[in-house]
Symmetry: C2
Subunit: 258 residues, 2 copies
């Protein structure tokens, strides 16, 4: 899975627990990934501090090849408010600097706060830049909470879309939900959404209010944690028997309209 | 990650290599998953033979708790020609029989030919049935080739759709591609597609002919294999410098229209 001597951008999956209620990392990541992480000297990350925390967890299973202080961790440029990838296009000279070790024949690890990098996070710009610079990109196998939630939902896994966050404004959110439900009904496409954990209860409330009675809704909470759970039911049943959302636990929402 | 004493449907990720050029399974699956697989006595699978092959690979790392011949592997009902989930609805008595061990308090493992069960495979019907029967569903962490390909593409990972297979008829395929490209352009949504390996070259040819010059196309071939690769380029560049698709290696295709 590595590219010895050539230098590549290795996409390193992280655990899904975000450090809360942390599980033994070998329970959730393949040994091959831990070995690879333990030997890499260069990293690109959303956050250097949490990457050091990740490397400490790796070290407990596979000792790091050099001391943590000697490992080079560079932070990705922050995306502008409101998202968008326009802040640092693949041709931006910044990327040549951030990816310099890979251009010099060394592996660089790209890591996210949870799950796969470059999925629902700012890492995709780094991957696009690597392709533009002719750097080999190697995704290491690991879980994405989005697809674990989809699998656990029992909803249509042959056609699905991840639509990110809903608008926070109630009127816009309601309009967007109606639109997604109509799309789901027309195309039998499962719709996947996320929210920041402290707003999960608000999102669930909106889903229960706005979606149709027969629409099936699945919520996966705390994926890979011992306390994790998935519930799939029609909206009518959710309304009859609501579930309390925990406040600090990441969740993924999926729905399919019949 | 398990549900001791209660009985659940555990979604067990498989390797991505489909047995061709098989890699050491601990390089690609977490130890926690292998330990869980090694102790389970009941399985639901697309194919019993390949499930036994999987269990042999597990056994080489974590010895199975009982002999392979004593492990109960039940095959999922075959979906009808043309797909659709209508063949065995969640309420079908067949599921009560197939999931009987879980109803009796034992764990049942659901496994796919590659990657996550219930994603782009017939397993979702079993998961829906488990929810309908009140059986706890637990997805174990593992890779999906779809999301590894998305991560490796560098295309938009904040909004994406998996659209499955394109129609085989050339006219219908062309119309569908035009529709997906227009959707991608309008909504900045990455479109993910798959094809059976022996038709990958035909699909690539169609994509190069039908998509617009500036559309970015990414192909990931042989994910998690030492020989695997990902290429992302604009269609114009793919046309100038085509890549030969290997014949028997699974691939994932992703595109994003600007």
């Amino acid at each position: 899975m590595s590219v010895p001597g050539r230098g590549g951008l290795l996409l390193v999956p992280n655990a899904l627990d975000l450090g809360t209620e942390p599980v033994d990392i070998q329970q959730v990541l393949p040994l091959g990934v831990l070995q690879c992480a333990a030997r890499m000297e260069h990293w690109l990350a959303e956050d250097a501090r949490s990457t050091r925390a990740f490397l400490k967890r790796v070290h407990a299973v596979v000792p790091l090849q050099r001391p943590l202080q000697a490992i080079d961790i560079r932070e990705l440029p922050r995306p502008p408010k409101g998202g968008g990838a326009g802040h640092a296009a693949p041709g931006d000279p910044l990327w040549r600097e951030l990816l310099a070790p890979a251009l010099a024949g060394k592996d660089v690890g790209l890591i996210s706060e949870a799950g796969l990098p470059a999925v629902a996070d700012p890492g995709a710009a780094a991957v696009a830049a690597a392709h533009a610079l002719g750097i080999v990109v190697v995704p290491l196998p690991g879980a994405s909470s989005l697809l674990l939630a989809l699998a656990a939902s029992g909803l249509n896994g042959q056609s699905f879309a991840f639509v990110g966050y809903l608008p926070q404004d109630a009127i816009q959110r309601s309009a967007r939900l109606k639109e997604l439900q109509a799309l789901s009904r027309r195309t039998a496409q499962t719709q996947l959404l996320i929210e920041t954990p402290y707003r999960n209860a608000t999102l669930l409330k909106a889903l229960l209010e706005q979606l149709a009675e027969e629409t099936r809704l699945s919520v996966s909470c705390g994926l890979s944690l011992p306390s994790g759970w998935t519930r799939t039911d029609r909206i009518a049943e959710w309304r009859r028997r609501p579930t309390q959302m925990p406040e600090r636990v990441p969740a993924v929402f999926a729905f399919l309209a019949d």
